[in-house]
């Protein structure tokens, strides 16, 4: 798994971006096929590649230019810490990162022309069948609750065994559920779709249950790309979600 630049893309020293498919000698970008990438390593946001197995670094805009931001510990607000710096540490450790590709230490990158895509989004496009519908944890909890009630009747029959993964998934969905009803969450987050927020991102917001907008941008870096569009909307949505949470 490549850690740098990905397959089929390279950047020239003068800072222009080229695809090996359509690279032009004079450095001009092809208007159609080229997908510009930064010359930093946190490229998973920028380009769409089927074989990409890059893990997500914490996003370009997020890392400090010298890539040496202090690595904050748990759940601290406000400071940017470079995920990639931790990976540098693991690189020095010499193991662990080999088979799970993670981006190398960020250098602080130029902006990209293409809107950033998060890994779940990429995966959703690639791997899940087209007729699949993503579910928030709260929606899944409600669905599984209904099935559980049916299963309670079935489980009286000793021949029928309830699979372990059902129990685990049901517990997980119930416990991870911050909100009262899925419907109310959907009503609050649905309008964000009109402003370029994808289903995957909406689900991540619902599942995480963030308290502040900074938390949202830290944990769902792809939203930063459309920050100007969605900042006020996401803030409003967070306030509305906080009301539902409080009433639980």
């Amino acid at each position: 798994m490549s850690g740098r630049g990905g397959k089929g893309f390279y950047s020239t020293p003068d800072g222009n971006y080229h695809s090996t498919r359509t690279g032009t000698p004079n450095g001009r970008q092809s208007p159609v096929d080229i997908i510009p990438i930064s010359d930093s390593e946190s490229e998973s946001e920028d380009y769409f590649e089927e074989t990409s197995t890059h893990s997500k670094s914490n996003g370009k805009a997020h890392s400090k230019p010298n890539g040496k931001a202090s690595s904050d510990s748990l759940k601290t607000g406000g400071k940017t810490s470079s995920f990639s710096e931790g990976l540098m540490g693991s690189g020095k450790g010499g193991k662990g990162s080999a088979s799970f590709s993670v981006g190398k230490g960020g250098k602080g990158s130029a902006s990209n022309a293409k809107p950033a895509k998060s890994d779940p989004e990429l995966k959703l496009e690639l791997d899940m069948p087209p007729n699949s519908r993503i579910l928030m944890d709260c929606e899944a909890a409600e669905m599984l609750q209904q099935i559980h009630e049916h299963m309670a009747i079935l489980s009286e029959d000793p021949k029928i065994k309830i699979p372990e993964s059902f129990d685990k998934a049901f517990q997980y969905a119930k416990e991870g559920n911050h909100f009262t009803t899925a419907k109310s969450v959907k009503q609050i987050l649905e309008p964000l779709k009109k402003y370029g927020v994808t289903d995957g991102e909406i689900c991540m917001i619902a599942n995480i249950g963030p308290e502040t907008i900074e938390e949202v941008y830290a944990l769902v870096p792809s939203l930063k790309a459309t920050k100007e569009l969605n900042e006020s909307l996401v803030t409003e949505a967070l306030d509305a979600l906080a009301n539902i949470k409080a009433s639980k």
């Binding site: 759940k75 931790g86 799970f100 993503i134």
Partner: protein, 177 residues
């Protein structure tokens, strides 16, 4: 992340099941075969929510078994890279800790645990900050980010990190709430 998807499977039924309850027997067999399994492509099949369509059966030559193509809806759970999950720690050792989120196992290497947390061995092995304010041990709830998944035919295994903003411990079983 949970998904609600439509899958298709060819179910083989022995002639002894043929009769007025053929469809029920087919659905029961489907549930028995599919629920609780994991495929690398779709993730863990948590539960079947409905059967959309049962196609015409084809009698197999020589055996008498009949193959029915069945389309069904199910809830699956599949982790993705970049996803943020809340998981419960199941084991802690000096290499890192294992956590569980639903049916998925996630490993967080010590290289992806913040540098100011150190492994403390003992009866209850844990990772603790230098000032002792934060402790990750068995049954702790942590928020982590998945940075890698390995899929094979029947299993998904994940690697996670807590070395990032807004990640780390949510609740400590030892602390007073």
């Amino acid at each position: 992340m949970f998904f609600h998807i439509v899958l298709e499977r060819n179910m083989q039924l022995h002639p002894r099941h043929f009769g007025p309850h053929l469809r029920d027997k087919l659905v029961a067999k489907l549930m028995k075969d599919v629920e609780g399994t994991c495929s690398g492509r779709h993730g863990f099949v948590v539960a079947i929510t409905g059967v959309e369509d049962v196609g015409k059966g084809l009698i197999r030559e020589g055996t008498g078994f009949v193959t029915f193509p069945v389309k069904y809806q199910c809830v699956v759970f599949r982790p993705f890279k970049g996803e943020i999950l809340e998981a419960v720690v199941t084991m802690v050792n000096k290499m890192g800790f294992f956590a569980e989120a639903g049916p998925v196992q996630i490993f967080v290497s010590n290289h992806l645990i913040p540098d100011d947390m150190e492994f403390q061995s003992g009866d209850v092995p844990n990772y603790t900050t230098s000032d002792g304010s934060v402790k990750i041990q068995k049954e702790s709830e942590v928020r982590l980010k998945i940075i890698g998944t390995r899929v094979d035919a029947t299993e998904i295994f994940c690697i996670g990190t807590i070395k990032d903003d807004y990640l780390g411990i949510i609740s400590d079983p030892g602390a007073a709430s």
